[in-house]
């Protein structure tokens, strides 16, 4: 028997809901569904996740035994390629953003932390990572890297610096709150 996308999703919901109610919630919470403290009963920390688990079960049963449409939207191979591509681009951009400034400071034999509130250091990681992220995402969608994509990257970074950093002394652009 071949399962429809809905039925497959329904089985996943049933398994996850069952696991949540019977194993995960009671074993990975501070106490059980109901607890007795000084002779009085009160709701324990496992109850709320178990309630979520019960809704997973209801949803799973409805998907498993409900009407099956052939036109249900479903992710295809192109979606998977897209999401992995876009995630890779963003993660690389975030890594550049996080470590770009400290790495540049280390190359010059400096410590980044005392420099993180001074220009150009405070913009270095955000500028490099943000530019990379925006330009590469535009190139990813258009299928080629263009001057307009790179100009968009530079424009976006400058706009955000103007919006958040110049008017507000107490706002920190990434990654300056972490380093």
């Amino acid at each position: 028997m071949r399962l429809s996308q809905n039925q497959f999703l329904g089985i996943l919901c049933l398994l996850f809901g069952g696991l949540l109610i019977l194993v995960w919630a009671p074993l990975d919470s501070g106490n059980w569904y109901v607890v007795q403290v000084r002779g009085k009963y009160s709701i324990g920390d496992s109850m709320a996740p178990a309630f979520a688990g019960a809704i997973f079960l209801v949803s799973g049963l409805m998907m498993l035994f409900g009407p099956q449409n052939d036109d249900e939207p479903a992710p295809d191979r192109s979606d998977v390629t897209f999401i992995f591509g876009i995630l890779a681009t963003i993660v690389v951009g975030l890594v550049i953003m996080r470590f770009g400034g400290p790495a540049a400071a280390a190359v010059l034999g400096l410590e980044y932390r005392p420099l993180r509130d001074s220009v150009p250091w405070k913009f270095l990681g955000f500028g490099l990572g943000g530019f990379y992220m925006v330009a590469t995402l535009v190139a990813f969608v258009e299928g080629r890297l263009t001057w307009r994509a790179m100009a968009t990257g530079i424009g976006a970074v400058l706009l955000i610096i103007v919006l958040y950093d110049l008017p507000f002394e107490d706002l920190l652009l990434p990654p300056n709150g972490d380093v």
Partner: protein, 530 residues
């Protein structure tokens, strides 16, 4: 203090609050300026395809809080700006729909059906004026209903509901939103279950952080803004980028629409469209008052009702709905705009966000403090109830936004044609970076970007599998409140396991929660193709 005193205090809180500047010796309050700025920003956002009020609210919230801080004085300027964005984006959404056949917001899709044919017939200016007039009329009507019904409903809730009934009411609201939003009640429930599951991670009353599998990053729970912005904003950006990439692969290029001609709106035009506006405003307001039913359904029903009435009246030589008639634009715009004010009825009277914009109002109120939207706000006490003053202040900001919308909104809206030409493939990555930056400045931790990215992927997967993100967001926002109310209700009833159905009202709410799932599932079952 009496009702009139509170209304007066609310109005004065807006006009006599912190002053921005003086014009001819008359002080202009910061709140009024912020409402005007929010309205104009909202129109720009609505007029830009790919953006929308949710992105606008998500990006502006941290900036607003940085500017105004965490004092009670910040509430009205911040929330006034957000209300301006809500109203402006609804009006602005019609611009690209009419000029370029590209809906700026999902609910303006129906506007394209008659708006774009009017543009092709050289009546773009007339179509824009019809859209503006109808939109602001519907919005004004909806706001009046909000002012009348929200306090009334809140007083009823406070008078007749105790903790068990309030818990049952939250369950009913979640069940209603989950089942009526989107194409499948089962998937709506899945969305809600996911929202509840994630909000319960790392939280709880005990010191032990639950469901974290020992991962310390999760021990303080997931930041609400990261989850909400991730699923709604980042998920929809991914979805739009994926569509553009497909379009590029299929056609070899990305289509960006071209400009068209203009003309004027006349008094006979207004007479023609008036009944369509009135009908749609009623439909939109009724739908908006129900949590979770969005403006898209209101626009569809308003358009369908308008089309039925038009068919009865029209001459043989007149064009049909869908061929470029102003009545079609009016029916749609009045319906989707009249949802805006009514959507705030559940949040102000019950504390239950009926739409995504209301979620951001709750986030703003939570971040700043001093105002908790819900039935307890409308307590007309003899001593000053500051929350009630803020509530009437909010109503005042809505009136100001409407007045501005009637006067300068139309002119500004018609000048926004250029925004519709902004290519999405350049705009969306820049908005993504802006969203990450706005999350970071609130939390100053790279982990929050990681959370938002995770929820962005989840939002994308939900969209691609036909699961509406709205039940997720509402469940995430209400989850902790649901747990806290249930704990208190259980304790207050002496540990009664049937506390939810211990009163007739509780029985009614829980029965309705089950019935809405069963009835909706059966309806969809019968209407599903074999």
């Amino acid at each position: 203090m009496g009702v009139i005193d509170y209304i007066q205090a609310g109005v004065l809180a807006v006009f006599q609050g912190p002053q921005a500047f003086e014009i001819l010796g008359i002080p202009v309050s910061v709140t009024v300026i912020m409402v005007a700025a929010g309205l104009l920003v909202g129109i720009v956002i609505g007029a830009t395809p790919g953006l929308g009020q949710v992105i606008g609210l998500a990006i502006s919230l941290p900036i607003l809080i940085s500017v105004f801080g965490y004092t009670p004085d910040a509430l009205l300027p911040v929330m006034g700006f957000m209300i301006g964005i809500m109203k402006g984006s609804t009006v602005g959404g019609a611009v690209p729909a009419i000029l370029f056949n590209t809906p700026g917001t999902p609910d303006s899709y129906m506007t394209t059906l008659d708006g774009y044919p009017m543009t092709r017939n050289g009546q773009a200016g007339r179509a824009l004026r019809v859209a503006h007039f109808s939109s602001v009329s519907g919005d004004t009507f909806s706001d009046i209903c909000l002012f009348v019904f929200a306090p009334f409903l809140a007083i009823l809730v406070e008078r007749y509901m105790d903790l068990p009934e309030k818990t049952a009411l939250v369950i009913l609201s979640l069940s209603f939103i989950a089942t009526v939003v989107g194409r499948s009640p089962a998937k709506g429930l899945l969305s809600m279950a996911l929202g509840l599951f994630f909000v319960f991670l790392g939280t709880g009353e005990e010191f032990y952080p639950r469901l974290t599998l020992g991962i310390s990053l999760l021990s303080e729970g997931i930041p609400t803004t990261a989850a909400v912005v991730g699923v709604l904003v980042i998920g929809s950006i991914f979805s739009e980028l994926e569509k553009l990439r497909r379009q590029k692969k299929a056609d070899g290029g990305i289509q960006n629409p071209q400009q068209a001609g203009r003309s004027r709106l006349t008094v006979p035009d207004i007479r023609r469209i008036r009944p369509y506006i009135a009908r749609s405003a009623l439909i939109g307001t009724s739908i908006g008052a129900l949590p979770g039913i969005g403006s898209t359904l209101a626009a569809t029903l308003g358009y369908a009702a308008g089309a039925a009435a038009y068919r009865k009246r029209k001459q043989l030589s007149d064009p049909d709905f869908g061929e470029g008639v102003p009545e079609g634009v009016a029916a749609t715009e009045a319906a989707n705009s009249s949802v805006t004010g009514a959507n705030l009825i559940p949040v102000l009277s019950l504390g239950i966000p009926g739409n995504t914009a209301a979620v951001f109002l709750i986030l703003a109120a939570d971040s700043i403090g001093g105002f908790s939207p819900g039935p307890s706000v409308f307590r007309f006490t003899q001593d000053v109830n500051p929350e009630l003053v803020i509530a009437f202040g909010l109503f005042t900001t809505m009136v100001i936004a409407n007045l501005l919308n009637w006067t300068v909104g139309g002119v500004f809206m018609r000048s926004m044609g250029m925004m519709a030409r902004a290519p999405k493939q350049y705009l969306l990555p820049a908005v993504l970076l802006l969203t990450f930056a706005s999350l970071y400045v609130q939390h100053t931790h790279m982990a929050v970007i990681g959370f938002a990215l995770f929820f962005g992927v989840l939002g994308f997967v939900m969209v691609r599998t036909g699961i509406s993100p709205l039940p997720f967001v509402v469940a995430f926002v209400l989850g902790r409140q649901l747990e806290a109310t249930a704990r208190q209700a259980f304790a207050a009833t002496g540990g009664d396991p049937f506390f939810l159905v211990s009163s007739p009202l509780g029985v009614l709410f829980i029965s309705a929660a089950v019935a809405v799932v069963v009835i909706t599932a059966r309806r969809r079952h019968h209407s599903a193709p074999s």
